[in-house]
């Protein structure tokens, strides 16, 4: 009963997502939709490590940038199709993720966040410095040669569908995590690491599993970004603000939930686009509001919007259910 219900909702959403490009003509709107999907993918990936396992990474920009650079450099230097580059990008992101996680998983709370920031800064400086490989601060440019093999499309709608597939893949992984014991273990680690270890959970192993899924997905999203933008530089893909934004999206939606990051992306990405275009004469205004909003959101609704949204239908439902069958199903239906 429960599964059918939630699947109905999901199938409805997917159908809407599939037909949207048929109705949206404007490039600006399609662009926003693609960004929403991309950020929803990355936030879902961050959510596995940050939301479920409670390891608040502020270095996810590393995997994003690595993904972008890996596929692009392979394509530019060796003519390797980004379709293959996609897998290599994921593999490299995962390897670097393990390399970062292995030592830093010993650190708790804010210290883990600080260490991930430090890693991200090291990577950024290396990318800026290693000009032979990355072209330094000049950035890399992919020539616009549309073709399926090149993963470059003339139509925005093609990018949209590509982003949609990636997003559904990420969603499927989060769904899997949420519904299997991995999710429960990760939540146990988040709530109390010592107790989790005492109960026999291999804390480092499960944190590492979360890191692998999280890093790999973020790396793939980096490839999408590179193929969509066709130009990027170290400061745009290895950027602390990017890491913060990903975390913010997840927090706004609801950490440690399947749809939280999606909700967050649907709210934050368009807001960002609107704010960016509304204060062109006063630079900084959009990010000033952004910073204030960040403070207010984490102070007043640390659990995000999703739990609040869920409460509303549950109230109506519980009344009906009470009338019909004495309210035995309240808890499971509101979940």
């Amino acid at each position: 009963m429960n599964i059918i219900k939630s699947n109905k909702f999901l199938i409805g959403l997917i159908i809407v997502a599939l037909v949207i490009p048929l109705f949206v003509e404007s490039k600006f709107h399609l662009n926003t939709l693609i960004l929403i999907l991309m950020f929803a993918t990355i936030a879902s990936a961050w959510n596995i490590l940050g939301g479920y396992a409670g390891q608040l990474s502020l270095g996810h920009t590393i995997f994003f940038g690595l993904g972008a650079y890996t596929s692009t450099l392979l394509y530019l230097n060796y003519g390797l199709s980004p379709w293959i580059g996609l897998f290599i990008a994921a593999a490299i992101s995962i390897l670097v993720g393990i390399f970062i996680g292995w030592p830093t998983f010993r650190l708790r709370g804010t210290y883990f966040s600080l260490a991930t920031i430090a890693f991200a800064e090291v990577v950024r400086h290396i990318a800026l410095y290693w000009r032979d490989l990355t072209n330094g601060s000049m950035g890399v440019n992919i020539r616009f040669e549309p073709g399926v093999a090149n993963l470059i499309f003339r139509e925005y709608s093609s990018y949209y569908y590509f982003a949609l597939v990636l997003f559904l893949f990420a969603l499927a992984i989060v769904y899997y995590v949420d519904r299997t014991r991995i999710g429960y273990y990760l939540k146990a680690i988040r709530e109390n690491e010592d107790s989790a270890a005492t109960l026999g959970i291999n804390v480092t192993k499960y944190k590492m599993i979360a890191m692998i899924m999280s890093a790999g997905l973020t790396g793939i999203a980096g490839v999408l970004y590179a193929q969509f933008m066709l130009f990027f530089e170290p400061d745009s893909v290895f950027n602390l603000n990017f890491s913060i934004e990903i975390a913010l999206i997840t927090i706004v939606g609801g950490m440690g939930t399947i749809f939280g990051p999606v909700l967050g992306a649907v709210i934050i990405v368009p807001l960002n686009e609107i704010m960016r275009s509304s204060f062109p004469e006063l630079s900084g205004m959009n990010y000033f509001i952004y910073g204030i909003a960040l403070i207010l959101i984490v102070s007043f609704m640390p659990n995000g919007l999703l739990p609040l949204l869920k409460k509303i239908p549950a109230k109506f439902k519980s009344k009906k259910l009470l009338d019909v069958k004495g309210g035995t199903d309240i808890d499971s239906s509101s979940k």
Binding site: R106, L107, T110, Y111, A118, H125, Y290, G291, S299
Partner: protein, 292 residues
Amino acid sequence: MTILQTLISGLLLGGIYSLISMGLNLILGVVRIVNFAHGEFLMIAMYLSFVFYSTMGLDPYVSGILVIACLFILGLITQRFLIQPILDTPDTTKIFVTLGLSIALQNLALMTMGANHMSVRTSYQSSVISIGELAISIPRLISFIVAISVAALLYLFLQKTMVGKAVRAVSMQRQAAHLMGINVKKIYLLAFGIGIGLVGLAGSMLTPIYSVYPTLGTSFVLIAFVVVVLGGMGSMFGAFFGGLIIGLVEALSGVLLETGLKEAVYFAIFILVLLFRPSGIFGLGKGAEEVG
């Protein structure tokens, strides 16, 4: 000879890092908050110093006392209205409140002061003391002497005065300090105020040396994190020497390696210390792993 010159300028620069890091460390040790907006307070201090100079013609060293007072009050306000309410919340909230403050302050500066680099012009700006082939910049020397004196004063304050002892007690054992009749909230206010006040002093010392711009704080706060972790959490002594060490490392790697890599070098140090000695070189025992 160039190496010696480099070492000296690194050491002098390290004095400023020490001041900023001691403030960060005091807040971290006592209030148990990683203040991601620390660098933005430095930026504010330097803008204040600049504004005092351009409107009233006050020399940065003279206006320093005003800047320190302003920043101290700003610190009290921040602690009372922003940090106090979130002290018992999860890490997420603590991290993102100060991060949000950092983003907001940075962009407030961008809105009000613009993106251009601004600097003051003083008569002593480029004057140097020459000893043989060595040239020591006077503003940098002054900033270093001030840093050392303030570090010594702070040390005396924490070790010898009753209030200082209370501050240390709170940083060691919140609960016990509370039971001994120490007003913990007041100590938090004091620690945050002094921490930000130190940044005010550092800002005044930096204004004759550096130009100020809205994102200036980011690089300094990252350096301060490195210093605090290197020196050890809660250890003022550690923050002071950590600052000097990072100043030296930065200057040396700028000469031995290429300038573009100096940040990578001290971040690598940061990661290594976190991994192998999370309690820092002068740490007080309780390490990074235990403090959440």
